[in-house]
Symmetry: C2
Subunit: 458 residues, 2 copies
């Protein structure tokens, strides 16, 4: 438990109205997007400036109080759960878009800016921030940076780290540093910017970020291809890419997901299909036309039983709404859901899907496959119930084997969700102890009192 | 001086023919692409496997012998100069392309692979590695990774780090680790891959790299735009980009460079122009046509006095040959040349160019401007003579003010050459000591005996 006297000090720093200690408030900040872990903090603080955060960190460091930064709380690996109590540093009110620099195609933002709000402001300038985690309605830039978030559009545009040019960070000691800068090219000592990106809030608090932006593509088109075999859909992914077409999205939904979506909101998806792929291509209109033709041609060549090009944006929106509903469809259907985040080299997607099918049979559990097929990042999900011990145990075994299978196929245990609390077991098992030693050494160097988001990653 | 007995041990590891100790050999490995620093190693070793390098590092670490890894020796900041003697680890023979995976669009390479050789092998598969340092005829992948190399094509494609998915690294202790993987999405603990990229050979020896590739664009087109004011050319750069056109190259040559090239090999460049911009756009033919039209239109709108579209690849090649000859033109014209590598936010290019012109007047020295205008990475070069004390002193002052000016404009002291030996003075002056402390802490953690490329960066 935190010392009572500290609450008064925090009130002086951020103002009484920005310090929450009521039972209900602490409960509201005790979980993340998964609800798998629940732990209440001692206090929730809402700073709105770098100076306030520096002052808070100085006290926390002196008193060895854990600090867990939190953006939208939309993460799905336990990253923002204050598992050792202490302070939740809620950054939602520290949320100004400081500058949009059209000439340099960059933006400077505070950590609490919600991705959707940023993209709406950027759209008015003809710009956009490409990484698109599907939690964009709530996810904040600070969290997106801490988790190196991905999303569907990474096939073409890459992940968050490729759009972070520089950061202002408050270190666990309360010192403020700037790393990186405002230019794409920057070789000035070790790349500390990339060290803070994807560090899951364990090395410091990002208080300002310089984002690289892209010009908004003037045209886009959506194509749905239907398959009688989900592994064929998997193969189709890399056939399109190896033909030189890079759509910005290639998403996969399997038969189970298609049918749950149709139950929730009928929109004419092919209910008897084993899988569908949704492609989106963007760019100048001439290129989009040409790429659409190519995608249709290749999909037909590699066994799609039907290929539909959305006739207008309204039809396209319908398909993408279906895709976004995928996760809700899965989570709504069972008391407990394991939503994996494995990522394999693209050429191995059919193997991973076959593996999931085998394991579903072997353990008699339902394994649903959906996800960002274009970059090999699938979210196989297992439906189970923690209260049904026999079923749950089989689900755990199946999940373990999916993860091991992905690693055997040359993949990784997490593509975009992070290790957090959820993947620690696999991280320890799979990672070379020498590598973990270096990571822990860096952690000890930057956070000697281990106060930043303790208990995460390892 | 290295102990005589160690030479015998090294011969046992790599074979007698791969150990050089003759006077001439040591001289050949005493300098890099700049010739500004010369220091001979005690021995040059040519390992051809990870195991050999691990064995060498174990001995070097136990005996505290400095080890300087070296690829093509084309770097231009002193990075591969063995400034404290010891071992030069020459990686030129450790140069197999292990695998080109067309389905996953990745390649696995050893560190000694020359970029030109890689791209020729990739071209046969319809692929390419986008970063294009202009030393590609000699530069090796290991060095390209160590320096996070850039080049003209970074405007559209980004820098080296965006194409490195994973690395095998021999640590200074001789331990072998793998970081990253084969997938684009990968959030598994701290991003150590990005720590080794751009570490200038100070943290370990890259022995294998997993590269992300792009499909080869089927069409490309070159446009030359002529300006009567170099600052107008600078403005034109971001006007093109803010209109949503992203060429893969936007290069700038000023009047001085144009005239030196015309002296060396007349090719019809406009000798009375204050500057020219060379654009290249690539992609599918329809998109390339459209983008070419747009570039021509915008260049005319913003003051280009003449705009020429290369009618065929032969004419385009001529222009790009001229661009590559730029550095040779500069270096051939004075006994001593300072070739800067400052990078500013794109919108500030005209300001940086104006600054260079002012300083040329103020210090009565010739300042030549060429470089990768598209990403704000210019190489202003000062022609001087180290033997002419008065002139040289003025050149140093002008150079210092260019670098300070770039930083004031929101830029950085090195875009793609690195700190090495050359920029240490500025690095110490500009960087926050807390940031340097973290970098030094990481160095001490990974290389406790300070044997990897000692004397560099700080």
């Amino acid at each position: 438990m935190i010392k009572e006297s500290l609450i008064g000090e925090f009130e002086k720093i951020v103002g009484k109205e920005n310090v929450l200690t009521s039972k209900e408030s602490l409960k509201a900040y005790s979980y993340d997007g998964t609800s798998s872990w629940i732990h209440e903090p001692d206090v929730v603080l809402f700073p709105t400036s770098t100076a306030e955060i520096a002052a808070i960190m100085k006290i926390a460091n002196a008193e060895k109080v854990p600090v867990t930064p939190r953006g939208g709380g939309t993460n799905v690996s336990g990253g923002s759960v204050p598992i050792q109590g202490g302070i939740v540093l809620a950054l939602a009110k520290f949320n100004k878009i400081i500058r949009i620099d059209k000439e340099n195609m960059t933006a400077t933002v505070e950590p609490g800016v919600v991705l959707m709000d940023l993209n709406m402001a950027l759209a008015r300038e003809g710009l956009f921030f490409p990484p698109d985690p599907q939690s964009f309605l709530g996810a904040t830039l600070g969290g997106i940076i801490a988790e190196n978030a991905g999303g569907p559009a990474c096939v073409k545009y890459g992940v968050t780290k490729q759009y972070i040019l520089g950061l202002e960070v408050v270190l666990p000691t309360g010192d403020v540093i700037n790393v990186g800068g405002r230019t794409l090219k920057n070789v000035v000592g070790y790349d500390l910017t990339m060290l803070f990106v994807s560090s899951e809030g364990t090395l410091g608090v990002v208080t300002k970020a310089e984002l690289k932006l892209n010009p908004m593509p003037p045209a886009r088109k959506t194509i749905m291809a239907v398959y009688d075999d989900v592994a064929k859909a998997g193969e189709n992914v890399f056939r399109v890419l190896e033909n030189g077409v890079i759509p910005n999205k290639i998403e996969l939904l399997d038969n189970w997901v298609i049918n749950r979506i149709e139950e929730m909101m009928p929109m004419g998806l092919p209910k008897d299909a084993d899988a569908v792929l949704l492609f989106e291509t963007d760019g100048i209109p001439e290129a989009v036309e040409k790429e659409t033709e190519k995608i249709v041609e290749i999909a037909k060549k590699y066994g799609a039983t039907d290929v539909r090009v959305a006739k207008d944006q309204a039809e396209a929106d319908k398909y993408w709404l279906a895709r976004r509903a995928g996760f809700a469809a899965v989570f709504g259907k069972a008391p407990t859901v394991f939503a994996e985040d494995v990522t394999v080299p693209r050429g191995r997607i059919p193997d991973l899907i076959r593996k999931c099918k085998e394991l579903a049979k072997k353990y008699a559990v339902e394994i649903v496959v959906l996800g960002h097929a274009g970059d090999g990042n699938l979210h196989p999900s297992i439906l189970t119930d923690i209260k049904n011990k026999d079923h749950y145990d089989r689900a755990v075994k199946a999940m373990d084997e999916i993860i091991e299978g992905a690693v055997e196929l040359g993949g990784v245990i997490s593509g975009e969700h992070g290790i957090g609390l959820e993947k620690q077991k696999f991280f320890r098992k799979i990672e070379n102890p020498k590598v973990i030693d270096i990571m822990k050494g860096i952690k000890a160097l930057v956070d000697p009192n281990n106060i930043m988001n303790p208990g995460k990653i390892w």
